[in-house]
Symmetry: C2
Subunit: 258 residues, 2 copies
């Protein structure tokens, strides 16, 4: 734990009014000084998008009680983290927490997730970060278990000096607390979405498409996040943003004559 009270930056992708971010702030506020900078509208599926072509707005709000400084931002989750560091905190926070997302961000979903991209943006800046998601996507989701996990893991990560700059993807199953078997360190399951766009006709007889799809787990390993969640564990995947495929790099250095 840092000597001074840690500064905890909280953001999400469901928007600043979502129950999940309020549950997260409530869970971790005993651990430090919480500052919230989160999107003013839903930004799910925004991945690591940043706003280049239009200017951004940042408005002070009072949505988390008088003791917690909070701002809503017109940009993406990644924009929120960038603005928080540059214009609000004027220093690096001790940890960045993103979520609690309404819906799963395990396996390949990390790539599309605004929740995880916000946490990753902080990690790129050198800030220790955790993204939290519950598998319950509903507005009415029960965050009791998720709050306990968020508190426990945030405390553990803050207290572990060797984890500075580390990044974690935490998913929480939808089960009663007494059925939870524990917390598992996992790898990202190999999975994808089989897209099936819903094709419709507008009143002018022009086609339009809605994205729909089926999740396909292609990984039968028992050390994956999908396995952990299906077996009543909380999954914790340590995440990196060096995307180099070192195995293929080594192979091609030998095999290709360039």
């Amino acid at each position: 734990m840092p000597d001074k009270k840690p500064i905890i930056l909280v953001t999400n992708d469901d928007d600043i009014t979502a129950p999940g971010i309020h549950a997260l702030v409530d869970a971790v506020k005993p651990l430090g000084t919480v500052v919230v900078v989160a999107p003013d509208r839903a930004q799910s599926g925004m991945g690591h998008a940043i706003t280049i072509g239009v200017p951004l707005r940042l408005h002070r709000v009072n949505l988390f009680g008088n003791e917690i400084e909070s701002y809503q931002c017109s940009g993406t989750p990644v924009d929120c983290v960038k603005l928080a560091r540059d214009k609000i905190l004027h220093r690096l926070p001790d940890i960045c927490l993103s979520g609690i997302n309404h819906g799963a961000n395990h396996s390949i979903n990390i790539i599309y997730s605004g929740t995880m991209s916000a946490a990753m943006e902080a990690a790129i800046e050198g800030i220790t970060s955790i993204g939290f998601s519950t598998l319950d996507y509903r507005f009415e989701a029960d965050f009791t278990l998720s709050k306990k996990i968020a508190y426990q893991l945030t405390k553990k990560v803050l207290e572990d000096n060797e984890l500075k700059g580390a990044l974690f993807n935490v998913n929480i199953p939808v089960i009663a607390e007494n059925r939870l078997k524990g917390i598992r360190i996992c790898r990202q399951a190999k999975a994808k979405w089989d897209e099936d766009f819903d094709e419709r006709r507008d009143p002018h007889d022009q086609k339009y498409y809605w994205l729909t799809g089926k999740f396909k787990n292609m990984d039968d390993g028992e050390d994956t996040d999908v396995w952990a969640l299906e077996n009543n564990y909380v999954s914790v995947v340590p995440v990196q943003f060096d995307l180099t495929n070192y195995k293929l790099k080594k192979e091609l250095e030998k095999r290709w004559k360039l």
Copy 2:
């Protein structure tokens, strides 16, 4: 090379009218049947964003000559790849090419890049993919060298049966062809952007912010993409989308009691 004429899906993030995508189509059309599905407006910095909340449009266009089927899409680069597979090709293409991007996508920029996210989306589907970027961001960029590289690498990857499903990030320096020293297989350089939002006041005296920043290379390795480009090489980074930090996973499995 596949027995039949390969199907080459081409997309980008600068939009379907950008000179870079026309240079790419022109360069690779001798290698197979090209189908273009690209955004109808600039989508730079969109990362791996997908469109969830609004429906998508797809319009047949004729921007690449009568022999090349082409479509513009109202969505992100990732949406383009998803729609192309589901609604246009009705099968997996043999390769997906994205670009040629106007501007660098080396090092950490891969995370923010719509160009690379489109290629990654194809790779998630199991499609061999290459993202191409020239370091010249201008509309008037000279694509002579980039076209030669795009042709050469696409041919090489198509002919290499062991590379099915592989993903590459290719960046091309802005130099005269006779100064090019070669093509290097690299790793992603450790780098970040130091944000510095430009703070302004609108006519109603309300603040707004424009994203600006300075690129900071924190990596002095000579096997990185940034080093290669600074030393007059084309950089080729083999890329993966398993973001698990296996080193930290192993360490925490030993160290954490959960």
